[in-house]
């Protein structure tokens, strides 16, 4: 996968951090870690849903059951209802939607087991319950400014407590919060990949020699693939012309390529190059890029 990774790094600018999991079948799959911003966004969306739900239930409760008394009990009951709802919310959705809450689904991220095992219900319970400890309960105590609350040094400690948990996500490599640490999970991004048409040309009008095809490696091939897959745009013919010229110089292609034939030439070159490199790879001579000497066959 190294050539794919290398090509991705060039084509997408800054690549995401990836981790590898091994499925029970023994196949290694690489997953992309979710970014801090994505996780924060998903969390905000979930908080919004939770807030609306709690408020609705609270208002119904206040109107139907206990019309009249407000003050400290109202606050307590609101906190209580919100506690129940948010735990049901997170745990229910992560179980039913296999590691996604509505917020995570909108953003396109999900929770998985760190080593690729099945995501167990106990892990989901653990990671969400730890969220209570690391965030909601300290926050609730800090915000509930009732007179009978804890004494000030406890509040200070709670503030430090909250901050250190937020800091934890930024200091560990896998961007785990305390809940992920305890439950053995990570949060990944899973953008959808579509299968596009094969670029291989069946009828070749340009024929290349092995010597010419040896000029490039898998990395260049995949960058060329990306260029050929690009939808038509204003700049594309210009780039095609430039790339075409460069390749011709590199492989000593003497005959000039007409402007109308450029795309055809490049596709033929792609096909021939891929056929050549894949054949070489089958014989154990992998060639990662043009600087790689392993596939030269001349050493």
């Amino acid at each position: 996968m190294s050539s794919v990774d290398a090509a991705t790094r060039v084509l997408r600018g800054r690549a995401r951090a990836t981790r590898e999991i091994v499925t029970p079948e023994g196949v290694t799959l690489s997953v992309e870690l979710a970014q801090h911003g994505e996780r924060a966004t998903a969390f905000m969306i979930d908080l919004f849903f939770w807030f609306c739900g709690s408020l609705l239930l609270f208002l119904t409760f206040m109107v139907l059951v206990v019309r009249g008394w407000v003050s400290i009990f109202a606050v307590s009951i609101l906190l209580f209802i919100s506690f129940i709802i948010r735990n049901f919310y997170f745990i229910h959705f992560e179980l039913a939607w296999r590691g996604m809450t509505p917020g995570k689904r909108i953003v396109g991220i999900r929770v998985i087991d760190r080593h690729g095992g099945p995501l167990l219900p106990s892990a989901i319970v653990a990671r969400n319950f730890t969220r209570e400890i690391e965030m909601f309960i300290p926050l609730g105590i800090l915000l509930s400014a009732s007179g009978a609350g804890p004494i000030p040094w406890e509040r200070l400690m709670l503030a430090i407590w909250l901050l250190s948990f937020v800091a934890l996500i930024f200091v560990n490599r896998d961007r785990m919060r305390a809940g992920d640490l305890i439950a053995g999970t990570i949060v990944i991004a899973l953008p959808r990949q579509r299968l596009l048409d094969d670029l291989v040309e069946r009828q070749a009008s340009f024929v290349f020699t092995d010597r010419q095809l040896r000029a490039y490696g898998a990395f260049e091939l995949q960058v060329l693939e990306d260029l050929l897959r690009r939808p038509d745009g204003p700049g594309v013919p210009l780039i095609l012309g430039e790339v075409c010229g460069k390749i011709c110089r590199k492989i000593d292609w003497r005959e000039p390529v007409a402007e109308a034939d450029r795309l055809r030439f490049l596709r033929d070159f792609y096909t021939a190059q891929r056929a050549f490199l894949e054949r070489e790879q089958l014989f154990g001579r992998k060639r990662a890029d043009k600087h790689d000497t392993a596939g030269d066959g001349r050493q």
């Binding site: 499925t23 179980l95 891929r274």
Partner: protein, 355 residues
């Protein structure tokens, strides 16, 4: 349909037509490979799309049966493609498809109700049983604290104000008389349903829950603060008992405390045990890395802590409602005994099958 059948090239509806016999053209192994397998991938993709959108229950029984077979076929395609193909789009697609299928095939199977029932029925008691040594250590820490607190306060009541912070003392202290304690604390009048509900709802934010949660979380700090917090809780309990002992109210006070204290102190001890499990597995990771060891046992510890929060909730109901309703000491002891026996049977499972 067998697994072998899926690996075989098979013409499927919607598959591209067979390759034209071309003499001048080039045949790429990877293209041929793709042409013969693509129908299976598309089929899997369709199933996964449906499962992701409407849940796995939306799939027809026939599709459900094919899903794991198609998933394994996709994985094997990925392995082959990695060896023979240099088509970046194809490799990325297969990896993405396998990953998405993997999450559908190996996703959690139970609904929340099943999960909760399972948690209460087996997981929570089993986690507590597995942590019994840690629980013992927590009990010892608190008992030592209580003994020291009692010994200090019974001789010099000035210790009471030192050990118990003012908000918790709630006006009680060395200057309290026997009569004032009886009237305002032990047999205080029933304040009404509203206040009781308030106390119940307030359980989450009460001092004891906070202490329980801190006790658990401080396990991450190697467990020393956990032990200290447990001992400090013991000190306060000891001081309270001594205050009442000096006024000949020990039995009534114990009844007043025990009706919810059995559950509440039990919950604090469980939080402490969970914190000590975290500390233990972090300090002594055995043959795993510290992070892995924490992940292996952290779930257990979190289960104990979650169960303990439920116990705090029960304790709040006992405190807010039953303690005020049952206004005599023998009755309170009876309820306390029932809860103690109940918890013992629940956790230790002396009868019936153990998991």
């Amino acid at each position: 349909m067998s697994v072998e059948a899926l690996h075989e090239p098979q013409p499927a509806p919607g598959a591209p037509p067979p390759a034209l016999p071309d003499s001048a053209g080039i045949t790429l192994k990877s293209s041929e490979f793709r042409r013969t397998r693509e129908a299976g991938w598309r089929d899997l993709e369709r199933l996964i799309d449906a499962a992701e959108k409407r849940g796995i229950r939306a799939l027809a029984p026939d599709d459900l049966q094919r899903l794991p077979l198609l998933y394994r076929a996709a994985l094997s395609s990925l392995s082959v493609a990695r060896a023979i193909a240099l088509d970046r789009n194809l490799l990325l697609y297969l990896e993405n498809l396998s990953l998405r299928a993997f999450f559908v095939v190996y996703g959690p199977r139970s609904s929340m109700l099943e999960g909760c029932a399972r948690f209460l029925r087996t997981d929570f008691p089993a986690a507590v049983r597995a942590a019994r040594l840690h629980l013992l250590l927590a009990v010892v820490a608190m008992a030592v604290g209580a003994a020291v607190g009692f010994a200090l306060t019974v001789r010099d009541e000035a210790w009471f104000s030192t050990l118990v912070p003012a908000p918790l003392a709630g006006g009680r202290g060395p200057e309290s008389t026997r009569a004032s304690l009886l009237a305002q604390e032990i047999f205080a009048p029933w304040p009404g349903f509203g206040v009781a509900l308030g106390i119940m709802a307030n359980f989450l934010f009460s001092h004891n829950t906070l202490v329980g949660i801190l006790t658990f979380s401080f396990g991450l700090a190697a467990g020393v603060p956990t032990i200290l917090l447990l001992a400090y809780q013991g000190l306060m309990i000891g001081a309270f008992v001594a205050l009442h002992y000096n006024r000949d109210l020990t039995v009534d006070f114990l009844g007043w405390t025990a009706i919810h204290g059995v559950t509440e102190i039990g919950a604090i001890l469980l939080c402490g045990a969970a914190g000590l499990v975290l500390a233990d597995k972090m300090l002594f990771p055995d043959r795993y890395s510290r992070v892995d060891s924490l992940a292996r046992h952290g779930r257990r510890a979190a289960e104990i802590a979650l169960g303990a929060v439920l116990m705090f909730f029960l304790a709040a109901i006992l405190e807010g409602v039953f303690r005020q309703l049952i206004n005599n000491t023998p009755g309170r002891f009876a309820v306390a005994a029932v809860t103690a026996i109940g918890w013992f049977i629940y956790f230790a499972r002396p009868f019936g099958r153990r998991r």
